[in-house]
């Protein structure tokens, strides 16, 4: 891991966003596929209860030169490149410091407002921090998925990020395991951000234990996550096509 320090330090160098495909396996995204096919205006809603975005200033210190870009902005960029006519938009709804159960209270309104055809929902960090019971968490996530489906949106669930410095204080692993089975039993996409980041850490792609404030690391990680999400989304859209033949 010491070796890895040198690698990501190079600011703004394109990171190699390698990942085992099992960690972000594509699932069918029929609603999104249909919407894209009909060339209808399409909204992707990123529901982020974690402070992945620089906007939610929890500790108020996103110190650094450039404003860090979080993964939704990379998703947006990629979609804009692919659909230049601007009919595909990404909206980010930050619900900082909210557990899944609290998020689903606000969810019907958000869904009605944005009318997404894909909801990307990262959840679990605050549930782990608050020590919410895993069963309650599972119920809330399942309810959120059902709400989104009911509102005509496909769902991709994103697990909390891997945080080696703080995992002795609160352990997200049971929540990630819960997300894995909820998504599997509901047949929705699961983007295992935690396993992915752990993989990057093990493979010395990124070093997450560095003590210094490191905006480049933030950007690179989020860029990779955004890229892999896009890959997962486009594969999911194609799956639909294959399935319908």
């Amino acid at each position: 891991m010491l070796l890895a320090v040198a690698l990501p330090a190079e600011a703004d160098e394109e990171p190699a966003c390698v990942a085992p495909s099992t960690l972000a396996a594509a699932t069918r995204l029929p609603r999104l596929a249909a919407s894209l096919k009909e060339t209808a205006p399409t909204t992707v809603m990123v529901l982020n209860s974690s402070a992945g975005s620089a906007k939610s200033n929890l500790t108020g210190e996103v110190s650094g030169d450039a404003v860090p870009r979080s993964f939704p902005s990379y998703v947006q960029e990629a979609l804009r490149n692919r659909y230049p006519d601007g009919r595909v938009v990404v909206v980010t709804r930050n619900e900082p410091r909210r557990t899944a159960a609290e998020v689903i209270v606000a969810l019907p309104q958000l869904l009605a407002q944005d009318k997404p055809t894909l909801m990307i929902w990262q959840t679990g960090t605050h549930d782990a921090i608050r020590g919410v019971s895993v069963d309650g968490f599972a119920d809330a996530v399942a309810a959120g998925i059902d709400l989104a489906h009911g509102a005509g949106a496909d769902v991709i669930i994103v697990s909390p990020q891997y945080s080696p410095r703080t995992d002795f204080a609160f352990d997200v692993t049971p929540y990630v395991a819960t997300l894995r089975w909820v998504t599997r039993s509901r047949d929705v996409g699961f983007f295992d951000r935690m396993a992915l980041m752990r993989y990057w850490s093990d493979e010395a792609v990124f070093d997450f234990s560095g003590g210094r404030s490191n905006a480049a690391l933030f950007n690179n990680v989020h860029r990779c996550i955004g890229r892999l999400l896009i890959r997962m989304i486009s594969e999911g859209v194609d799956l639909k096509t294959v399935g319908s033949h």
Binding site: R165, T166, S185
Partner: protein, 426 residues
């Protein structure tokens, strides 16, 4: 569970009293520095059971498997440790916690039950409460270590990627609240969850033991009823911060402890024929294999899809907080199969290779607390110095070696104290 216990104790006339300093029978677990405990050999602590065990020996399987559980708990507590994969939780519904709680209930009832006969209810209850108090002090000590690590991380670490996670550690900005909540056992860091559970179980144990000795079956039934209510009605104790509840719900987990106690007071003998029957053992084995397949299919891609989705949906989530019935049954099945495979008089139990594990089991509470401390230390080294695979292996091995060393030290110390006391007595 260890159904043949009484039979085993009878056979154990040849108890391995002379295996060097690592004697298996009745090693006293003296809290370091508590000379008052050591001064009188008849006043054993929970682990010792005072004098009688020394002559009769004890079921080594209890110590062996509790020692194993302690090693597993330690390995599981070092976050991101590759050796996590080899512990029981990846191969079935239950994990080391069940083993630990059950055996602790078993030995507590065995030991304090005898003391209650000899020394009376009041004195024994006082001893149990003193034990709970010692654990409480140990908990506070570990909490201080935990705070030290958190403070260090907050002071050194400002990575925007982890703004939210770091923000969660800011509870230290109101230490008045955090400390008071810790003193009330409401604030329990992840790794230390088992300890508050154990403190509460032990503090509530005197009346339970009294009841268990008078009306064992009724007590067990009552305990079961409370367990069912906890699962159904969501009874739990409040926690901190926010709307946290206890990760190990004592109201649910008490059943395993009481069941252990019930077995320790002779219940397992009465169950003997049932749990030794071929049918029950076969059913237990089938259940173990089935749960193995289910659990492994969740993390091992080749088995993916073997378990039908509908079954998975029915099974999960398996609540650890409320000791879900599937976990409980898994533990019972495991116990039945182990008891069958490892009879109480199994020769290999006395092999020197197993001695370290048995010793750890005999000093379980000290070793447990030490293990929590070591897991903090290991976490620190893995994050601050080297986090390589190699280092994980080294730290895991070192941690276990240190746990064994501590138990050897405690055994030695207990032996010395006993010797002194015996001389004084003459």
């Amino acid at each position: 569970m260890p159904a043949a216990l009484r039979e085993g104790q009878a056979k154990r006339g040849r108890a391995p009293a002379d295996v060097g300093p690592f004697r298996s029978g009745g090693t006293s677990v003296l809290p370091p520095g508590d000379a008052s405990l050591g001064a009188s050999p008849s006043r054993g602590s929970e682990e010792t059971g005072g004098q009688p065990e020394r002559s009769t020996g004890r079921d080594l399987r209890l110590d062996l498997f509790r020692g194993l559980a302690l090693w597993f708990i330690f390995l599981n507590h070092v976050p991101n440790n590759v050796l996590n994969w080899f512990t029981t939780r990846n191969f079935g519904f239950s994990d080391a916690t069940e083993i630990f709680v059950f055996i602790s209930g078993y030995t507590a009832a065995l030991v304090y039950g005898r003391q209650m006969d000899k020394a009376g209810v009041i004195v024994t209850s006082a001893r149990i409460l003193r034990r709970a108090w010692q654990l409480y002090v140990a908990f506070i000590f570990l909490f201080v270590v935990y705070l030290a690590e958190i403070s260090y991380v907050i002071g050194r670490f400002s990575n925007p990627l982890y703004a939210e996670e770091m923000g969660a550690l800011q509870f230290l900005s109101e230490p008045d609240v955090a400390l008071v909540q810790a003193l009330l056992l409401k604030f329990r860091p992840a790794n230390m969850d088992v300890l508050p559970l154990y403190i509460v179980l032990l503090a509530g144990f005197p009346p339970v033991l009294w009841l268990l000795k008078r009306r064992p079956d009724a007590t067990l039934a009552l305990s079961f009823l409370i367990y069912v209510c906890a699962g159904r009605l969501g009874w739990n104790l409040p926690g901190y911060p926010d709307d946290r509840v206890w990760f190990f719900n004592p109201i649910a987990w008490q059943f395993l402890f009481v069941f252990g106690g019930w077995c320790g007071l002779g219940g397992s003998d009465r169950l003997g024929r049932l749990i030794q029957s071929r049918l029950v053992v076969t059913l237990a084995a089938i259940y173990l294999v089935a749960s193995l397949v289910v659990v492994v299919s969740w993390w091992w891609p080749p088995l993916e899809g073997v378990v039908p989705e509908s079954l998975g949906r029915f099974i999960y989530p398996i609540s650890k907080t409320d000791l879900a019935p599937l976990r409980l049954v898994h533990f019972l099945a495991l116990a039945i199969v182990v008891v069958k495979l490892v009879p109480v008089n199994a020769r290999f139990l006395e092999r020197p290779v197993l001695r370290p594990m048995i010793m750890c089991g005999q000093h379980s509470l000290e070793v447990f607390c030490f293990g929590v401390f070591l897991s903090f230390a290991a976490h620190f080294v893995l994050n601050e110095m080297v986090g390589s695979l190699w280092m994980q292996l080294v730290l895991s091995g070192t941690g276990i070696a240190l746990m064994v060393a501590l138990s050897a030290l405690l055994s030695w110390y207990a032996g010395v104290e006993r010797g002194l006391a015996a001389r004084k007595g003459k």
